[in-house]
């Protein structure tokens, strides 16, 4: 019983983390129509930022605030310099350019911080375990992480559902031309969405860094799982992404427990099943 409780907590935490990465990806798909393979690199970059900035500032919270701002800025610059040229291009060119960016980011990472695996210290005030049932304990940092991710998800909900900017983003996702006709500056809207997506992915990388390791291949791994989330949830649908993130996280976590040999493919089996049922994902935006 305790095992299932712990695995459920793990799955929820993984699902919320995945949601932060996938929500940005699905928004960029949905609003700008751009397939961004480099999205995983932003997650990786976040983790390395966490490593670098904590060793400079010594404080995780300062790191996260600073890192998120830096990532949002980088996102805006990238959008202006590269991605804004991709909106009119076909998917193949988008795939190739963003794949090229992955290679660049990975090599820059290798040049700047090396190829070693790093770890980031859990802040001392969270470095304890919460007793769970009679014998098990659960690391407090993981609960803290789930809480923060949940808070960000709720924040995102309010931003998209209850603000003018959110209404414009939703409008942009469903009918870009109409938004332009209404006189809304679409360039700035796109830039905002893109830098929001980058910031969310980097934030996820930063907050996860203390509970995992910071390693070279992490961007690719999270990217492909995020793709599955977007496919399952439906392109452009933030709520689909939330539901799909949790679904994928549960499939993955419990797959590892019950069928360790086939754990790697559990999420893809879920994906195939959903596709057979609904070829456009759970929520069509």
């Amino acid at each position: 019983m305790d095992l299932i409780l712990i695995q459920t907590l793990n799955a929820v935490q993984y699902g919320l983390l995945l949601f932060l990465v996938a929500s940005g990806l699905t928004l960029i798909f949905g609003v700008m129509g751009v397939i961004n393979l480099a999205h995983g690199s932003f997650y990786m970059m976040g983790a390395y930022l966490a490593f670098t900035l904590t060793s400079m500032t010594g404080n995780l919270l300062v790191t996260i605030v600073l890192g998120t701002l830096l990532s949002a800025l980088l996102g805006a610059v990238l959008e202006w310099a590269l991605f804004s040229h991709l909106y009119q291009r076909n998917h193949l060119q988008q795939v190739l350019l963003t794949y090229g960016l992955i290679l660049i980011f990975e090599e820059l990472r290798s040049l700047l911080v090396g190829d070693e695996v790093y770890s980031v210290k859990v802040p001392s005030w969270l470095d304890f375990s919460v007793p769970l049932g009679s014998v098990m304990t659960y690391p407090a940092y993981r609960l803290f992480m789930s809480g923060i991710c949940l808070a960000v998800a709720v924040g995102l909900y309010f931003l998209i559902q209850r603000t003018v900017i959110g209404a414009r983003i939703r409008a942009g996702a469903s009918n870009r031309a109409m938004v332009q006709i209404l006189g809304i500056n679409i360039d700035w809207l796109f830039r905002l969405v893109f830098s929001l997506g980058v910031a969310l992915a980097a934030f996820a990388g930063m907050i996860n860094a203390p509970s995992a390791t910071v390693s070279p291949g992490m961007g690719t791994q999270v990217l492909i799982v995020s793709f599955v989330v977007v496919i399952v949830g439906g392109i452009g649908s933030v709520w689909g992404a939330l539901l799909a993130s949790l679904l994928v996280a549960f499939a993955d976590t419990f797959g590892k427990v019950f069928l360790p040999d086939y754990a790697g493919i559990a999420i893809y089996v879920v994906m195939a099943a959903i596709l057979l049922w609904r070829p456009e994902g759970l929520f069509k935006s």
Partner: protein, 326 residues
Amino acid sequence: MSTLITSPSRAVIIAVFFVLLAGFPQLNQDFYTELVTRVMIMSIFAISLDLLLGYTGLISFGHAGWFGMGAYVFALLGTKYQLTSNLWLTLPAAMLVTAFFSFLVGLFVLRTRGMFFIMVTLAFAQIFYFLFHDVKALGGSSDGMNLRGKPTTAIGNWVPFELTDTNTLYYFVMVLMAALLLFMALLLRSPFGRALQGIRENEHRMEAIGFPVFRYKLAAFTISGAFAGLAGYLFAILNSSVNPEMLSWHQSADGLLMLILGGMGQLWGGVIGAFTFMLLQEVLSTFTKQWHLWLGIAIVLIVLFLPGGMISIFERIKGIWKRRFA
């Protein structure tokens, strides 16, 4: 564009290309002979992808799945289960198995379009990646497998050639590449090939005039998978090893890059692209450890400024030439 030889000047270029290619191993530089063998195998891989990408308009990002599967069929038959290493059994087996699984996967993925198709093909390739990475019965291991040897070629007591010889393997691959080019040229001129190109141009119209579009796409997906399996099979023989990285998305992306470099939807695009890409890789990696950085920068610049590939350079020069002098 789709025929093998479109003009006399082209015929001369192609003849010269094959004469040079055939003469190359006589220099007896084993390292370079193997390098060109590898390039020709990648050409086969790129050509097989072009059937989807360039001719049917399907952007598959999971083509490495078939490449790796073809390689693993040989590894499992010849090394893991030691059923047979005979070329005449294992090569058709590799192609049939990849064809069968591409058919099955095609049933799923061809229901989707656009971005979905790109991501879903990637996701299916990941399934196969993890199967060959994790499942012990399939030789699952991150290090892959070293093979017991090259395929035997005996038919009864008669041994027509030995693939252990570097030059023989080279010629074997060269003949297969030439055969594939010929096959593609004929296929693309056939009603079937025309229909695929019609689907690429306008799927709905093809549907409207009564073509069973889904079946055509499925057939293209299956054939393309089988040839990618052939390329993987040859690659396994050349390296005498297989590993799950053959199924990784970097391998799929390499195929796309080759076609972009060489020009997609052009019979020779795959060959030109594979030669350019592999030689670029070889040259850059001797100069710098960060060759991926330069590759990445090159990709970004090519997409931004030269979306038609290398072939479009010639077209542009031709255009300028014509405006000046004709």
